[in-house]
């Protein structure tokens, strides 16, 4: 790999056609400002220039800490929020400016599975009618036909079709999540956005749902956008992974590549922080503990947004926005937005930033001295 190839546009990797393409997506939320006389309004920079694509039949994992904008991004893609700027192309069609009415027929093809299997199901409605909702809303099936279709999906996700008349309270957490999956599957959509689909479930049940999602994908050729904060789950289900920090994608790569050669110091820190269920490895690993917390998305840091917490931060990082592109001779589909990418085998827990202290999070106490 040489310098010329790194500058070219990424070649499409193996896999189907691009089902979803997001280009330079921006979503700002205005902040209720108490300063009445202030002229310039403040905005939460929830998603700030994200570009990515998801191929037919594949899974793109989206990881990042709380508040990094991953759920906002998902909701923008489904057009549950109006976007500030940018472009979303779904199945070859630009959907970024469609009205709610224009979006409605497309809703059959893009669905969502939510995190909380308790909050996302109306407790006063029977399961059959919850799963039957899509048919009712789109007026595609009524009466016996709707019931038959609902029972078909229930069977597909491993629920007993005879439980058609039960209430959500009669089901356990894992079964409720199956109800959520069934509802999303009613129209056999092309894209399903899974927003933390297993994080509210117990470990043994989590595995049941992950297997179910994998089976459905291979059976129905589904495409997933899979959001989770549990990195081992994301690694298990995804083909590619996008790492987000403060509204921007910091690294985007095929899953094995990302785990083997994390280029962005944030990715490196994130991966090293995952607790490994193996006592021998847990003791050996050098854990990169990031100082401080994620800065406010209302006034994000200049340049690279990670610089206040980055162990490798240098003056360039404060001044210049890093571009998301292949670094250190990586393949064209491994992109990282960092001026000083992590080399293979480099231990950044020993690195010290070369910028002055007042530009960084002030460290103190045990963590600072550790």
């Amino acid at each position: 790999m040489n310098a010329e190839t790194t500058a070219t546009v990424p070649e499409p990797a193996a896999g189907g056609d691009v089902l979803l393409r997001v280009e330079n997506l921006v979503k700002y939320f205005p902040v209720q400002s108490s300063a009445f006389f202030r002229r310039d309004r403040e905005y939460v920079h929830a998603v700030d220039g994200v570009s990515l694509e998801v191929r037919q039949g594949q899974t793109l994992g989206l990881v990042g800490e709380t508040g990094c904008g991953k759920s906002t991004l998902a909701r923008c893609i489904l057009r549950l929020y109006n976007i500030t700027s940018g472009r979303i192309t779904f199945d070859g069609r630009d959907i970024s400016k469609l009205s709610a009415r224009q979006m409605r027929p497309l809703r059959r093809e893009m669905q969502m599975i939510f995190q909380d299997p308790y909050g996302s199901l109306n407790p006063r409605r029977r399961v059959g009618s919850i799963i039957g909702d899509p048919f009712a809303i789109h007026k595609t099936a009524t009466g016996q036909e709707r019931k038959r279709k609902v029972q078909e999906v229930m069977e597909l996700v491993g629920l007993n079709p005879e439980h058609f008349n039960r209430f959500p309270a009669e089901f356990s957490g894992g079964q409720r999540q199956r109800i959520g999956v069934a509802r999303a599957l009613a129209f056999r959509p092309k894209l399903i956005v899974c927003d933390e689909p297993v994080s509210a479930l117990d470990v043994s049940i989590q595995a049941q749902i992950i297997n179910l999602l994998a089976d459905l994908q291979s059976e129905l050729g589904l495409t997933y956008l899979f959001i989770a904060h549990d990195l081992s789950v994301v690694r298990h289900v995804s083909n590619k992974v996008a790492v987000m920090y403060l509204g921007q994608v910091t690294e985007l790569a095929p899953v094995d590549d990302l785990w083997a050669h994390p280029r962005h110091p944030y990715t490196d820190a994130l991966l090293s922080a995952v607790p490994v269920p193996d006592p021998d490895k847990a003791g050996q690993r050098e854990r990169i503990i990031l100082a401080g917390d994620v800065p406010s998305p209302i006034s994000p840091p200049s340049g690279c947004r990670f610089h206040p917490r980055c162990p490798k931060a240098a003056p360039t990082c404060v001044e210049k926005d890093p571009v998301l592109e292949p670094r250190l001779g990586d393949a064209a589909d491994h992109l990282a937005a960092c001026h000083f990418p992590v080399e293979d085998g480099e231990d950044i827990s020993k690195s010290r930033p070369t910028i002055s202290a007042d530009e960084r999070v002030i460290e103190s106490g045990l963590l600072g001295s550790a």
Binding site: E65, Q208, S232, R235, L270, P275, P277, S364
Partner: protein
Amino acid sequence: MALLEVDDLHVSFRTSDGIVQAVRGVSFHVDAGQTLGIVGESGSGKSVSTQTIMGLTRGARISGQAMFEGRDLLTLGQGEMRKIRGAEIGMIFQDPLSSLHPYYKVGWQIVEMIRQHDHDMSKAQAKARAVELLNLVGIPQADRRVDDYPHQFSGGMRQRAMIAMAMSLNPKLLIADEPTTALDVTVQAQVLAVIKTLQEEFGTAVILITHDLGVVADVADNVQVMYAGAVMEKADLRTTFFAHHHPYTEGLLQSLPAYGGERERLRPIHGQPPSLINLPPGCPFAPRCAYVMDRCRTEVPPLATVGTDATHLSACWLPHDMAARNELRLKVVGEPLPAQAEA
């Protein structure tokens, strides 16, 4: 002698549906400076048992013994319990937002805690101590942040403030109930590091309740696996991961996605945990167990030692000789224990 010794603890609650047997005969002990990890899924009784020890389960029917430095915590009155809670046994809960009072400044809440137990300390002294503690758990600019309200702290900072509060009177025992579950991995790493460092510095015993086997692998010395209100297996950390005996422990470990290596299909435990109102006769895990035998459905297996190791206990009818157990494992699961696979 152990710092805390719990013996045959039973806790049940009367509800409109019947009596919920939340904890059914649980015994464990913690030594000074040691960390006991209690692992289990929702409804396994892991939180109820420690909350009962602290006298926080009102309206429950309780029997058993919990000896803490020669006193039985289960028989102490409210007043005596209040002196122990906080001062000698600290607690950290899962949700740091609801455990801090939103109306009072974080520093004030720590000061109040200190002065409640140490009447000689002046307000100024207590506040200085609060700053020192916040500093210790890594809150930046602690002297300024001490006057912040909880909503001005991030999730990780709130949890660290909770740890600071729990540690403020140098308790001998710290009970951490899912302390990192609501936090991001990077923050989780920070919080676990703080607990570890404090433990090294003050020799505090820690009971860590979690469902995350990764967290256990990181900090625990001994592990107790609970299911349906009872202890299934108890062993030191390495035995739990590499030479476990109970099929439930095996099932839990197998259902995790592998961190490295090949991405195989996950192997979940089938079915659901039983209702604690109508427990099956026999072993509570029998309906989900891959090894189930006729005996399991009728007789409850006692918690008995495995092989020659006196500290390794398992409540299972499978042969307690590890060689025979492994042979069975090869037959049923089709692969050896992880430790043997590596060897």
